[in-house]
Amino acid sequence: MSGSFYFPIVGHHDNPGFEIEFLPAEKVESKHDHHHFNQSIAHAALGLVDANRWLCNNMHLKTVDKFNEWFVSVLATADHVKFITLHDVRQDHGIKNLFSDVYELYIKLAMNLFYKPYSPIGSSTFDIKVQFLGKKHLLS
């Protein structure tokens, strides 16, 4: 349970464009039900994200919400795309690094003419790179 992360990228209409889970090595299989739970919490936090982003000068909004043992940390980009991390352990530094690295990746993707902004991200390269970054910053 502890040390797992759920990382969606959410577009304008609350629609996730990308979802990934980072789980500790010993816990390979994520329960299906658990996944839904994560999504619900992340969805519920979106209202707070919207309220927070006008109060904070930084893109990185830190932890905006918590539910039971779950914390919701958010990076909201200038065009209102939200990078969310749902985590059950405090790991602010790792999350911050992950956000900034993924943001760079996302910018590159967004500049691709063939990517329609805010649409689901289907690029496997993006997926692999985020996976790698997640392992690097969160699980190591």
Binding site: S40, A44, A45
Partner: protein, 939 residues
């Protein structure tokens, strides 16, 4: 205290709590009728003074909460009204006894009580009593409100006396220590003479007096008392009571700042009384005036003139920002005490309501965040549901709809938690429905047609699945079918292949018991579930109305007046008009359908599912004309490409028919899909004129049918083709059988012929007929036949062919004595000529094929029945293909000098290429009989 009142708001601090309860057996309906009337008296202007009393009515109040009445006086039950039925005087003593028992429950705190007796008449009822009111029945009790007003006034008198009493107490030596229930044992054996203790008593009493002042409508005084109390209690670190004093201060300030109220429903009530802040100021000023006669207040705050209240208010009343700070402080003090959980929780709720009015949602969410984690004790499931629901409501209040939906969903799940013996699926379903807007979902599939999908699809799907399950457990299969159809229709793009299979399987199993309909489903609470047509199963890309086959196409008779010309303009052509027409045409189609004839609409569909899709009962939805749709069933292969489907139907009356859409049955769900609501559909228009019925003519001929179809230039299609082979000069009779296979009598027939452009020179009439004989059989009733005879006569000039001319040229040479070219060569040449024209025929015809083709079209214009009256006719074409072969060949032409130099003999070698004997007659010469395949020389 263990039961939190989540509905509390800051202004409840100024109310007096009155419990209204039934005693004995009183029907719920009657009780709540009375309760409603009683609770309508919620604010009273006290006689002689302009102070206002507010009353809070409860029909249920846990007595253990009453024990906290000293801590916050609005928690104290000060009035009791009991309602009872009593029909005979004999029951009276017993009833009265029950009233007393009821009084005992709240006895320690009650100021006054009343008993309302319904049904009792006679002696007892006549006695005037203050505490008991008798009414003959529930309909006849006009004076209830008046009674309540009197009752409240009596409460006020007690309150006022207590307030004055307590307010003067503080100057005395002994001030009793007020305490909350759980503190009592802590103070046993405490030194009551210490300064610390006295200060504590003083502080608490001040706070209490503040509460009483607030209740008695003296806002200014209460503020002063609270301020003093805060100072006193802060100095002795009496945190619980300090919190209460701070909260009291907040409440009084909130009441001052927001006279409209903070608690939604009650706010509306108060608005009636006094809504404007200026009004509120006036309202409190009289209260402050009474400060003059209050000796306690006089000595403590020195307010002694009406004008000074302005200054006093500015000083004492908290600013909106301060209110929140003080609430925060109070809550932090409460949180030090485990037993004050309820107080803390309620304070959080009150603060959130205030923040909601101030529109400071971020801070409000912090309060709520805190409230979520206040552990009261082991909550019962019902309390958990209540708690989550109220959290959801508060989040909604501060504008966090998604958070609100989340908690509501948690509450819904709590309703059916496995630990509950009797799961409340109905409640769960109701709560789930309320969460829909928070998840950007609506129950109308139309909302999903516009643009991009809104919301988190995975979460939405989960919610819809929960709705399906809850409605199924509720025992309402129609609802589950509707929700599941909705899920399939709107979330199709997000479902994985496996999920698509699962969803359709469960849908099929549901619909086997309860088929899906197109009816609006109404829930008991007034919510309507609109029907869900499966416009994506299959997806329709194009709708095309098809014209009738050429032979059945109706045509308008050209009238002399030229009706076909546009009557709108005197010009034959104008670009403006043409443009307008174009627009019209985009909606209306320029062909007609005929009443009683099968009409077709072609749909291009495809199946988005990863398995075979069976569509049953697929037919057209039309309007304007009575239309008999002939439904079709089809089966589309998995993830098919565009697939043409033709839907047919028969218009039964005339007029404008509009194709509105189509209906299907897929997975047991009936759907009416309207074209207007389909996104990205291509159509060539949807309105067609249906003209009155016309007869239908079928022709059959004596000649064999031809596989070859003629390609007439005009674009007319030819329904039947016949072909015949004739020798030059031969005449053939073609019998045509005309059969009326329609339902209308065939009244008119016109026959015309058209010979297709040919280079050949024709002698005489190719086709000739006598119509009169046929017309004599008219009108032709349905099912009847008539015959019509056409003579085909072929008379062609084969001599003018190029090769023969060439021969003649040769012969010109031969006149001078050169040998004639061999017949073989002559025969070969035309074969080469004819090849590109008719290669298959020429190869078949053998060696002597000088085949020429003649093609003609026989047009039958016919009409009858109501269509005829309207000036329509039908055109049926018969293609006639005639292959003409020459009957004789002049294989050699030569000249011989005759006896006279002026003349010469023309020698013709004539070859009979037919299989028959033939006679050649030349001009005033003898006849020559030529047998089949024979060649003779003729002079």
């Amino acid at each position: 205290m263990s039961v939190p009142d989540y509905m509390q708001c800051a202004e409840d601090h100024q109310t007096l709590l009155v419990v209204v309860q039934p005693v004995g057996i009183v029907s719920e309906e009657n009780f709540f009728r009375i309760y409603k009337r009683i609770s309508s008296v919620s604010q009273i202007n006290v006689r002689d003074s302009q102070r206002v009393l507010y009353i809070r009515y409860r029909h249920h109040y846990p007595p253990e909460n009453n024990e906290w009445g000293d801590f916050q006086t609005h928690r104290k039950v000060v009035g009791l009204i009991t309602v009872t039925d009593c029909f005979s005087a004999k029951d009276w003593p017993q009833t009265f006894e029950k009233f007393h028992v009821q009084k005992e429950i709240y006895g320690s705190t009650l100021y006054d009580s009343r008993l309302f007796v319904f049904g009792l008449q006679g002696e007892i009822a006549e006695q005037p009593r203050t505490d008991v009111a008798f009414y003959p029945n529930y309909d006849d009790c006009e004076s209830v409100e008046k009674r309540i007003e009197d009752f409240i006034e009596s409460l006020f008198i007690v309150l006022e006396s207590k307030r004055l009493d307590r307010a003067t107490d503080k100057s005395g030596d002994k001030i009793p220590l007020l305490c909350v229930p759980f503190e009592k044992k802590d103070f046993v054996g405490l030194d009551t003479d210490s300064r610390h203790y006295k200060k504590r008593c003083q502080g608490r009493m001040r706070k209490h007096v503040g509460d009483l002042c607030l209740q008695a409508g003296m806002l200014q005084d209460s503020l002063v008392h609270y301020h003093m109390s805060v100072e006193l209690l802060r100095s002795v670190n009496d945190f619980l009571w300090l919190g209460a004093a701070l909260e009291g201060l907040c409440s009084a300030s909130v009441i001052y700042h927001y006279p409209g109220g903070t608690g939604g429903k009650t706010g509306a009530r108060r608005l009636q009384g006094s809504s404007l802040p200026t009004d509120a100021g006036n309202r409190h000023r009289p209260g402050a005036q009474e400060v003059l006669i209050d000796p306690g207040a006089l000595t403590t705050n020195g307010i002694n003139a009406d004008t000074s209240t302005e200054i006093g208010r500015a000083k004492n009343c908290l600013s909106p920002e301060d209110i929140i700070d003080k609430y925060k402080e109070a809550i932090s003090y409460y949180s030090k005490y485990k037993n004050a959980g309820v107080i803390e929780l309620e304070a959080c709720v009150k603060a959130v309501r205030v923040l909601a009015i101030q529109k400071r949602s971020m801070e409000a969410s912090e309060f709520l965040q805190n409230a979520v984690y206040i552990n009261l004790r082991q909550l019962s499931e019902e309390e958990k549901i209540q708690r989550y629901s109220i959290l959801s409501e508060l989040y909604e209040l501060i504008g966090f709809h998604r958070k609100s939906a989340f908690f509501k969903r948690v509450a819904a799940m709590q309703c059916v938690a496995p630990s509950i013996a009797e799961p409340g699926w109905r409640a769960c379903y109701k709560l789930l429905l309320e969460t829909l807007p928070g998840y950007s979902l609506s129950l109308d599939p139309k909302d999903f047609n516009k643009g991009t999908h809104r919301g988190w699809a995975a979460v939405q799907m989960r919610l819809l699945h929960e709705l399906v399950y809850a409605s199924r457990r509720m025992g309402n299969p129609a609802l589950s079918v509707r929700h599941l159809s909705f899920l399939l229709q709107t979330m199709l793009d997000f479902l994985s292949d496996q999920e698509k299979k699962d969803v359709t399987q469960s849908l099929e199993s549901y619909t086997s018991k309860c088929p899906g309909t197109m009816e609006l489903l109404s829930l008991p609470d007034g919510l309507n579930l609109p029907p869900v047509p499966f416009t994506k199963l299959p997806i329709v890309r194009r709708v095309k109305l098809l014209n009738l086959p050429a032979s059945l196409r109706p045509q308008k008779m050209k009238s002399l007046l030229g009706q076909n010309m546009s009557t709108k303009s005197p010009f034959i052509y104008s670009p403006i008009i043409a443009h307008n027409r174009g627009e019209e045409r985009s909606k209306k189609i320029d062909f007609q359908w005929v009443q009683g004839d099968v009409c077709e609409v072609q749909l291009m569909v495809y199946n988005p599912m990863p398995f075979e899709l069976r569509v049953e009962n697929m037919g057209l939805l039309t309007s304007g004309v009575e239309f008999e749709s002939l439904p079709a069933a089809l089966s589309l292969p998995a993830e098919s490409g565009l697939y043409p489907v033709t839907l047919v139907g028969v218009p039964r009356s005339t007029g404008q028919i509009t194709i509105n859409g189509y209906h299907t049955t897929v997975f047991g769900v009936f759907s009416d899909c309207l074209l207007d609501s389909l996104p990205g559909i291509k159509t060539n228009g949807s309105t067609v004129e249906v003209i009155p019925a016309l007869p239908r003519l079928q022709i059959s001929t004596s000649l064999p049918r031809s596989a070859r179809t003629l390609q007439p230039a005009s674009g007319d299609e030819i329904s039947t083709n016949v072909s015949v082979q004739l020798y030059n000069g031969e005449t053939q009779q073609l019998d045509i059988k005309l059969e009326n296979i329609g339902t209308e009598p065939l009244e008119k027939l016109e026959v015309t012929s058209k010979i297709l452009t040919t280079k050949e020179k024709l002698y005489g009439d190719f086709l000739s007929w006598k119509l009169e004989e046929t017309l004599s059989q008219f009108p032709l009733q349905p099912g009847k036949t008539a015959t019509f005879t056409v003579n085909i006569k072929v008379k062609l000039d084969f001599s003018c062919q190029e090769n023969l001319l060439q021969d003649l040229n040769d012969d010109g040479i031969s006149i001078s004595g050169l040998p004639l070219s061999s017949p073989f060569r002559q025969v070969v040449k035309p074969r080469v000529e004819s090849k590109p024209v008719n290669p298959p025929e020429s190869s078949k015809a053998g060696d002597f094929s000088h085949v020429k083709t003649l093609e003609a079209i026989l047009n039958f214009k016919y009409s009858g029945g109501p269509g005829h009256v309207d000036g329509y006719y039908r055109n049926l074409s018969l293609g006639i293909h005639v292959e003409a072969e020459p009957s004789v060949f002049f294989t050699r032409v030569s000249t011989l000098p005759a006896t006279s130099t002026r003349q010469c003999h023309l020698l013709l070698d004539v070859f009979n290429s037919t299989e028959h004997e033939l006679t050649i007659s030349a001009k005033n010469n003898e006849e020559l009989i030529l047998h089949a395949g024979e060649c003779q020389r003729d002079f």
